[in-house]
């Protein structure tokens, strides 16, 4: 075997004046970076295995550990940079498709940060949310073209609606990709906060049925875990066509992650690879999609809204129009920054378009065609905080999915090695000794804290704009101004430059 050209990405620095040799780092690192060397009576580190997940750093009781980026420089080259060379090295030695996890870390323009919200000054009053009622309740689903009121009552029956106490939902994270502890954390938090969590394509574990009233059950190309009970258990059904991290690509849960629980929940044999085909093989057109949407509506007796989730790709506006016309009640769009448990690196980093532009163009298109009321619009893929949510709503979204932010809340440090199954935080793993590291009570509490905090902030931002109901902000792009964008970007986003 020839020598490896790959340098460790990180260096583990252990302060000998602080290390008490308690070996907590040794017993916590699933990547086996730290080990105890009896001969020298010390903990040593195999740095090439370190993924910088911070488990040891967080757990070290004396703060004796620091993880640094390997300072070794490659010959300076603005085109063939270290990242590029390392990618080639990995393939030269491994010979495979480069795999990665989480959303892209490439410096894609962040439109959220170029958008600025308005506030009331002098000519209109701002509202103090601590003194006055603020409404951020959100209804997702098809709205009728008109309303018929008789004797003060609504006569026309409303199509089924998904009710959210805040315009935020947990994005699709499947059991199998993430642990049951993580699923329970999300499910409990969503239930406690009156929002929705999403099964992803992993089916609904029997322990999660108690949280099914706040659950969107997904139907993906692999149809894992789908039966009549599953469809009827959730508050809504989502047909997953695509995922922002890997548009055009299916999923592959390796057999070693398919243990007894995953097997039962996904309804596949233990140890078998769970392969989701890239397309749904019964959907090759909008008409085919319509058949599945109505098959699912039939199966649930038209009591639940049906969502269709697609990745943000070049023709997303036309595709979304087709989805609405096919009968979807909700269209979910996942931008290029959307996360994943495993995706080919080149796909994740180069396929798809940013959520902000996709959202604006879809909302504009649906309005132009006069069908915006027929479906709600949910945006996903890189929502980081409450101001991103507010900006998304002003751009035309009805609600946002958060995935990565939710994972970070549960402890994820975005080391991007989800696909190894060795998640030290017990989130993206099926190894029982790692799964138990995430206490669902703590996970749920942290997630609930996050949703409450964001809800407060959303009310503050709304109040500042003099708006007391989120509904008044939806698609209200006059509340946004941009900085440093091109003419074309202003046109697509449908906003004015700051100062105009």
């Amino acid at each position: 075997m020839s020598i490896s050209m790959q340098l460790p990405d990180y260096l583990v620095e252990r302060d000998p004046n602080r290390c008490i040799k308690c070996k907590v780092c040794v017993n916590q690192c699933a990547n086996e970076v730290h080990s105890w060397d009896e001969d020298i009576d010390s903990v040593i580190a195999a740095e090439e295995k370190c993924v910088n997940c911070h488990r040891c750093v967080t757990y070290c009781p004396t703060r004796a550990l620091k993880i640094r980026r390997n300072p070794t420089e490659y010959k300076e080259n603005s085109y063939w940079n270290a990242r590029t060379i390392r990618g080639i090295d990995r393939q030269a030695e491994g010979g495979g498709v480069l795999l990665t996890g989480m959303g892209t870390d490439r410096p894609i323009p962040i439109y959220w940060d170029r958008l600025f919200l308005n506030a009331s000054q002098v000519t209109n009053p701002s509202i103090d949310p601590l003194r006055e009622p603020m409404e951020i309740k959100t209804y997702l689903g098809s709205k009728p073209d008109n309303v018929i009121i008789k004797d003060g009552k609504l006569i026309k029956e409303l199509p089924p609606q998904l009710v959210l106490d805040a315009p935020i939902m947990f994005g699709a994270l499947s059991f199998g990709a993430i642990s049951l502890s993580a699923v329970k954390s999300l499910a409990k938090a969503a239930t406690d906060c009156g929002i929705m969590w999403n099964t992803g394509e992993g089916g609904l574990h029997r322990d999660a049925y108690e949280y099914s009233k706040n659950c969107i059950v997904q139907v993906a190309s692999g149809r894992f875990g789908v039966d009549a009970e599953y469809l009827n258990a959730g508050a809504a059904i989502e047909i997953k066509i695509g995922q922002g991290a890997k548009p055009g690509i299916g999923g592959h849960l390796p057999g070693e992650k398919v243990g007894e629980e995953v097997s039962r929940t996904r309804m596949i044999p233990i140890g078998s690879d769970a392969i989701s085909p890239a397309p749904h093989h019964d959907i090759y057109s909008i008409e085919d999609l319509r058949q599945l949407i109505y098959a699912l509506k039939e199966a649930t007796r038209y009591t639940k809204p049906v969502s269709v989730k697609v990745s943000a790709v070049h023709n997303v506006a036309a595709i979304a129009s087709g989805i609405v016309r096919a009968g979807a009640d909700i269209v979910a769009i996942d931008g290029v920054r959307g996360g994943t448990g495993a995706a080919p690196l080149r796909t994740r980093d180069s396929v798809g378009i940013p959520a902000e532009l996709a959202l604006a163009s879809v909302d504009s298109r649906l309005r132009q065609e006069g069908i915006r009321n027929q479906a709600s619009l949910v945006i996903a893929g890189g929502i980081r905080n409450s101001s991103d949510v507010v900006k998304a709503i002003a751009l035309g979204a009805d609600a946002c999915y958060i995935g990565t932010a939710a994972l970070i809340t549960m402890g994820c440090r975005m080391c991007q090695t989800c696909y190894t199954g060795k998640c030290n935080w017990g989130i993206c793993t099926q190894d029982p000794k790692l799964v138990k590291r995430l206490n669902p009570e703590i996970g749920a509490q942290r997630l609930a804290n996050l949703i409450h905090a964001w809800s407060h902030e959303i009310k503050e931002l709304l109040g500042g704009m003099g708006i007391n109901a989120l509904e008044s902000l939806r698609g209200n792009r006059l509340m946004l101004r941009g900085v440093g964008l091109s003419e074309t970007e202003y046109r697509i986003l449908g906003i004015l430059p700051a100062g105009e």
């Binding site: 017993n27 916590q28 757990y59 009781p61 004396t62 000794k433 138990k436 206490n439 703590i442």
Partner: protein
């Protein structure tokens, strides 16, 4: 009485409870660094994490109602406080005969031979109100301090 109970299903097996327990019972109860690096002998934890992954849980003295150790103790060092129920070892009277170690059904008593030979065991941080340090510091809430009534108790 209130006891420390382990929640095996969320024990990460990190053994931080051992570190904090050892510190709390060292010469420098407020400093991990001094307890481990300045004290002449390495501090001993009175809690023990049993690990056979994926199984792991922390074990310490159960402060039994009928504590064998108190009956077996040849010097009367090991006593159960009739009010709090806490079983403690009076180290000034302990002669290190290890009879208590022999009779403890949980294996929760350790030999401390770092100085004057004594039996070392959990004293619930000598308190029956506030959380013992192991409960307080467990990063995953895998230890609880509670009164759980069982048949006969």
């Amino acid at each position: 009485m209130k006891r420390v109970y382990a929640r095996e299903e969320v024990c990460a097996g990190c053994k931080l409870c051992e570190v904090y327990c050892a510190t709390a019972h060292s010469e420098y109860p407020n400093s991990i660094l001094k307890a481990f690096l300045k004290q002449e002998t390495r501090p001993i934890a009175r809690i023990l994490v049993e690990v056979d992954q994926p199984l792991s849980f922390a074990l310490q003295c159960r402060h039994c109602e009928e504590a064998n150790c108190t009956q077996a103790c040849i010097t009367g060092a090991m006593t159960k406080n009739p009010e709090t129920g806490i079983v403690t070892n009076d180290e000034s009277r302990c002669v290190g005969c290890w009879t208590c170690v022999l009779v403890c059904p949980y294996g929760a008593i350790k030999r401390d031979e770092t100085g004057h030979k004594v039996a070392s065991k959990c004293d619930l941080c000598s308190n029956n109100d506030t959380n013992p340090i192991c409960v307080e510091k467990c990063p995953n809430n895998a230890l609880i301090f509670a009164e759980i009534s069982r048949g006969g108790e």
